[in-house]
Symmetry: C2
Subunit: 428 residues, 2 copies
């Protein structure tokens, strides 16, 4: 394939005509395809339907501690649920607290608590003139929305296939007392599907924060969300790494079963040091009498143990793998060598990240929409919705069928080609 | 019966001896009885076990809007759940938002949001030098814990059988801009079981708050929690009352199914004006993708409609009524005429309130504990845990059996008598 930039104006114009004809043809089909959000598909949801039967009216809803799960009590989670989610988080059971249906909510509450009450005795952030967070980019829009909501200044940190640029992270965290946190999706990152390297995790653990109340917000959303059995990423466990480096309190780790059982009807957890959890419990005991123990029990009895979860994730992988392949096949086949974009080929998680030529992302997303394909809005993967290069596009292949994805991906690559040609022509 | 204060020192001393012997006899039984918290009993929990079967693996978990409840989506509650809880709250469906498993959590979040973001555009409370809340006393300890946690100054407002002292409420709310809220349990109040009179609700609706961001925190926890079929309290609906008086935004109303289905595994809601809900949704959309819709659907399908809930509450009443009667019978029989205490005889809710002679409550609770009866700590019904008269004791009769309650109540009255005699003797 010849790179587009090496084609003549005439060649580009003729190619454009041809592609526009193809686009018009597809557009006439009035398709409606959605690659915008990391939603499991119906087939994936069906995998967990057995969960609806595991607690029948005949069941004894008493948990291991002897507590009737139907009644008040047990602030931080029943033993069975702690076992399951601590195994999933690869931390000891005493380092975990179980919450409600969403880890996003736990993260929000963590920031909110820091605003009003500080962190382990520090000055509440709402009393400070300036609070900053580091945001590896591209990243997860809902993380950035939380920090923006609380008026926290966000600083972009470029991502690499090894994780965030750690030179920048160290320089900022170790020298600027107003830097209070960093958002991380360390495994199969959103949207690139990168996993932080051993060296990156070690550099995180060895940070010497200027702010005592600096915390790493380690959103391990895709901890066991592999696409393959034999080709999986491994991430060093951050709590232990921090403990070994003398920084036991430096990290909050979040996880949930949202993409394991049912999104919105799962259970979430935070893993942290004893001192951090004591700080968290002080607020929790004011906020709630306890989370939904019946649902905790439902999860524990359905999956039985972490091995049960891992086996369950294999079934998710069998559904997701062909979808990732469908999209990546089209990208490889249609765009390789054209030098108008690059894309990731993740081994897990929920997303593929695409980088177009500079200044083209918004136009590509708009173009695809013309033909009925909804993408995540360009810019959404950056704080304040502003991608300085206007080049990153998140592709979410989980919800449509592989056939729909092939169609959607073909519309997407057509859009990429057309917008790129316009850009190159404009520069010639 | 002769009032204790009219007995001679000799009579009191001889009576004390006799009562001490009775107390020693009961104490020797090593009983363990708990009248401390408003927990439903096992028999009450069993009433809702059918809920475990209503969504089987064969069920279609699509809600009325056509959304698959197993997946992400629907921020503020599925239609069926809104219908159910708006009927329960006696407000239009468009004035309700469904939350997670606990109304306490919703109240906490409401205060937390006001601290960090203000109320409908007002200055965030964390930026103000002083924020005050009015607290009708005796009241609910967990309300007071929230306001204390956020450093909000609490002002005691004496309760009457008609509701809070409205002269005080009006004087403070209408003249002091730092007064931002009042905690109310307006029906079958915690702990007295009083229901605010029509006149009280009207005076609430006609308040002219000095602070634009003043809100009434109307915790309608016991809205349909009657003990009788024919002898029920009626409470004027506050949202409409405020709207009629030109104060549509002045109230947040909270409710949940905690004491209808399963405490901790139910669903909660807030009812408020359109403008308030818009303000709340702005934050909600940052905090969560949505609450547990499967559990919302479970509740809606199990109860079918508000009539189903009302019929279900009759079964709760049949279990609770004999328990209230068991306690009140003992109080009436053992303490009437002695002038060493007074107690309420509620027609609904979860509590009986007892007022001892001044300065005796702590001693009575301690005495009862000696014989194995756990009461709510004296003082808990007041802000900062400080009952200025040390006289109020909350009795929670829901959890033990009627037989256990008779025993516990007998120990309680013995404790009241012994402590009162000591007080009277000390004054003679």
């Amino acid at each position: 394939m010849t790179a587009y930039k090496d084609l003549s104006v005439e060649e580009l114009q003729s190619l454009k005509k041809e592609l526009e004809a193809q686009f018009a043809e597809i557009k006439a089909k009035n398709l409606k395809l959605d690659m915008s959000r990391g939603k499991p598909s119906k087939a994936q949801l069906d995998l967990s339907m057995g969960m609806m039967d595991v607690l029948s009216s005949e069941a004894d809803l008493t948990c291991e501690e002897g507590v009737d799960c139907r009644n008040y009590g047990v602030l931080d989670g029943i033993n069975e649920a702690k076992q399951l989610l601590s195994d999933m988080s690869e931390v000891p059971k005493e380092n975990i607290v179980i919450f409600g249906n969403s880890s996003l909510n736990v993260m929000y509450d963590t920031i909110s608590r820091s605003m009003t009450h500080g962190v382990m005795g520090s000055t509440p952030w709402c009393k400070l003139d300036k609070v900053k967070f580091l945001c590896p980019v591209p990243g997860y829009d809902r993380h950035f929305a939380i920090t923006e909501h609380f008026g926290i200044e966000m600083i972009n940190i470029p991502m690499t296939p090894e994780g965030p640029n750690m030179d920048m992270v160290e320089a900022l965290v170790n020298n600027d007392e107003t830097v209070k946190g960093i958002w991380c999706v360390p495994k199969y990152s959103n949207p690139q599907g990168y996993t932080y390297s051993d060296q990156t995790v070690r550099r995180f653990a060895r940070l010497k924060p200027a702010a005592k109340d600096f915390r790493i917000y380690w959103d391990n959303a895709y901890t066991i969300h592999h696409l393959h059995d034999d080709n999986q990423d491994y991430l060093i466990e951050i709590l232990m790494a921090c403990k070994q480096e003398g920084n036991p309190d430096m990290v909050y780790k979040f996880c949930s079963t949202s993409k394991i059982s049912f999104p919105g009807s799962g259970i979430a957890a935070i893993a942290a040091s004893t001192a951090n959890l004591a700080d968290i419990r002080k607020q929790m005991t004011i906020q709630t009498i306890g989370h939904d123990k019946v649902n905790q029990l439902r999860h524990a009895r359905y999956f039985k143990d972490i091995h049960g979860v891992v086996e369950h994730m294999r079934k998710h992988a069998d559904i997701l793998r062909p979808k990732f392949e469908a999209v990546i096949d089209v990208l490889n086949k249609e765009l390789s060598g054209l030098e108008i974009g690059s894309w990731t080929q993740p081994r897990g998680g929920y997303f593929i990240s695409f980088d177009s030529l500079e200044g083209c992302a918004k136009a590509i997303v708009a173009k695809a929409k013309e033909a009925g394909v909804i993408m995540t809005p360009a810019g959404a993967t950056f704080p304040y919705g502003k991608d300085p290069k206007d080049s990153n596009i998140r592709i979410a292949p989980s919800f449509p069928t592989p056939e729909e994805l092939s169609m959607a991906a073909n519309i997407f690559v057509l859009s990429v080609k057309l917008v790129s040609i316009d850009k190159i022509l404009g520069e010639k």
